[in-house]
């Protein structure tokens, strides 16, 4: 079983302007989703609740941090950076299945139960499904995972 680790020192790798960019993208995506819902209604607006707003910024940061880590030990980290970004994308694709389940729970039961309870239940469902799919996939060794070793 692959171990999940928390490495707080990774937070230092992210520069202040990178945090600002994420905040701006996140804030803008949220505002735009609201404005689209106002203008075109909840059916169209709802699509944008699952818009990959900061995905390009995150994938680029992961690649750049991995490259820098490798450069510190004197090797060319370009390939490693792309592998890390690719692994991140694979993880995100599993998270998307959880995202569908999150939306399904709220669509079906938000109207009939306590709203905050349903938001909590939907978030838990997202986490359980995303983690479950990741655990199943991560424990099937494949070339890419072995190569990345992480």
């Amino acid at each position: 079983m692959k171990r999940i680790e928390v490495n707080l020192s990774s937070l230092k790798d992210t520069k202040p302007h990178e945090y600002v960019v994420r905040f701006l993208f996140g804030g803008l995506a949220t505002v735009v989703a609201g404005l689209i819902a106002k203008k075109f209604g909840p059916v169209v607006g709802g699509l944008f609740l699952a818009f990959p707003a900061i995905f390009p910024a995150s994938a680029t940061l992961i690649e750049s941090h991995e490259k820098k880590r490798k450069a510190k030990i004197g090797s060319d980290g370009r390939n490693r950076g792309r592998i890390a970004a690719s692994l991140d994308s694979q993880g995100a694709s599993l998270g998307c299945i959880g995202l569908m389940a999150f939306a399904f729970v709220l669509w079906r039961w938000l109207n009939h139960h306590n709203a905050w309870l349903m938001i909590f239940v939907a978030s838990t469902v997202w986490l359980v499904i995303a983690y479950g799919l990741w655990a199943v996939r991560a424990n099937r060794p494949r070339g890419l995972y072995r190569l990345a070793g992480r």
Binding site: P42, I54, A103
Partner: protein
């Protein structure tokens, strides 16, 4: 205007929080899950319920499922292109973004087509 500003602040905070979680977690494939966390939805759903009601928010969530299918197709494709053709992550993730629009809006048109 106040609501827009609140949405901006809450959205920026929640999205940044999930992104920071993705930064500190290892392995990277696990951290990637947080790239598809329901961050925008969590940031807005409370405000939407307060302003427009639960039925409106539930309807948004129905469409969100289609948006998530678009995100799924997009993330799979970005991962595959990065492995297969080895472009930069920025180039791949940005140029493939229209895939999200095509899949999400295509599905919406398919399911919401008037009878």
């Amino acid at each position: 205007m106040d609501t827009v500003f609140i949405r901006f602040l809450v959205g920026g905070f929640v999205v940044s929080l999930f992104a920071a979680l993705g930064d500190v977690l290892r392995p990277k494939s696990f951290a990637g899950l947080f790239g598809a966390a329901p961050s925008i939805a969590l940031a807005t759903i409370g405000l939407t319920i307060r302003q427009d009601g639960r039925a409106y928010a539930a309807l948004e969530c129905r469409s969100m499922m289609l948006g998530a299918v678009g995100f799924f197709a997009y993330a799979l494709l970005v991962g595959w292109v990065l492995r297969r053709y080895k472009p930069g992550a920025f180039l791949a993730s940005l140029t493939l973004l229209p895939i999200w629009f095509v899949v999400s809006i295509g599905l919406l048109l398919l399911f919401e087509r008037p009878a």
